[in-house]
Subunit: 216 residues, 2 copies
């Protein structure tokens, strides 16, 4: 069974990469910059998107693809801001794959957008293994998750170009060692860009939004 499993997994990843390339072509044609946003459950991915949409209002035309196992609560939150959004329900799968994104694309007005965020399923592991056609992978980590995450979930820190450390307002009430967190993340990925923000207080969001605006 082991060999068969390995063979099937290899075929799945190969098929995924083929569809991811097709997605990338469609994004490029439409002139859209795409960010695959990953992070653990409760790290604050949707809150970050809400704040980002508000901060970039009038500067960039944003669209969002929401990935969840079940439910539509995240898409409803984004939709309330007037931003085009599509909800994908994976029905159990712990990550988004390129085919799910491909099927969601007809529901987004790509030609009228500058940037699309794909909010992945809350999971620090599997989403990092699947390309979906994005230009960049970004991750969100809540300061309440602790400083030991880079060494325990190395792939996501390696695959991401940006790390947004969220909930910095909780810093006084946790034992998270920010210096160790950032040093371990940098040891895995020296090019990793780090932003420290609080979606609750607004701290640091201007810097993040300004940097995003500069990507286009």
């Amino acid at each position: 069974m082991g060999a068969l499993k390995v063979k099937v997994v290899a075929r799945i990843l190969q098929a995924n990469d083929r569809i991811a390339e097709e997605n990338r072509r469609r994004f490029k044609e439409a002139g859209v910059f795409v960010i695959n946003l990953m992070g653990a459950p409760g790290s604050g991915k949707t809150s970050l998107l809400e704040k980002t949409i508000t901060a970039l209002n009038g500067r960039l035309r944003l669209g969002v693809i929401e990935g969840d196992i079940a439910g539509t609560s995240d898409a409803e939150r984004i939709g309330r801001l007037g931003t085009p959004v599509v909800q994908i329900n994976t029905g159990g799968a712990c990550h988004l794959d390129a085919n799910m994104i491909s099927e969601a694309l007809p529901d987004l007005p790509l030609d009228k957008l500058d940037m699309v965020f794909i909010e992945n399923v809350g999971n620090l592991v599997c989403p990092a293994e699947f390309n979906v056609g994005e230009d960049m992978k970004a991750m969100v980590l809540s300061i309440a998750e602790g400083h030991d995450k880079p060494l325990k979930y190395p792939l996501m820190f390696r695959e991401s170009s940006v790390l947004v450390i969220n909930k910095t307002d909780l810093a006084p009430y946790t034992d998270t060692d920010m210096a160790k967190l950032k040093a371990d993340a940098a040891s895995l990925n020296p090019a990793l860009r780090v932003f420290e923000v609080s979606c609750r207080t607004g701290e640091g969001l201007d810097g993040w939004a300004g940097w995003l605006a500069g990507l286009r």
Copy 2:
């Protein structure tokens, strides 16, 4: 490819359940009660185990199996308390399966233990799909993760017998609606037992430890 994938997944789960039954038989023979402890990254699973070990000192003989993608930091934390511990590194896999547990068992002195905790990989999704031979599944949720988790990750709330809501000391600094969290969890799993604890302040740990002691 779809049909092949489904067939392989079915075979993998079938093989897993067969090994889980064998593990269960070994645990039963040794008279050990086994809890499969699941939760998102940073929910505080290892901290809860540290506090539980201290609280149950002299009442129950505990052992721990630590599951992580990479690293040994959790096993080192448990080992410092003098508790028998085995570290499993899944090498990328996002959950523990029955075979990994089977291979770890020779390194635990089962005959000298009353209760074994299996700390699963930090992940709110896949661990809930794999039986490993446990008597009970339990989950830890950090209050900082928010109240929307039950409806977004329903399987884990359904599979667990116990929900430990951790980091209650952060309650004044988050917008988590505890009533909604508990109501949604109960709607998915009316029999779910809930404990509210803070591993940082010690609040609620006596009740949790006393309940565990009563399981044996």
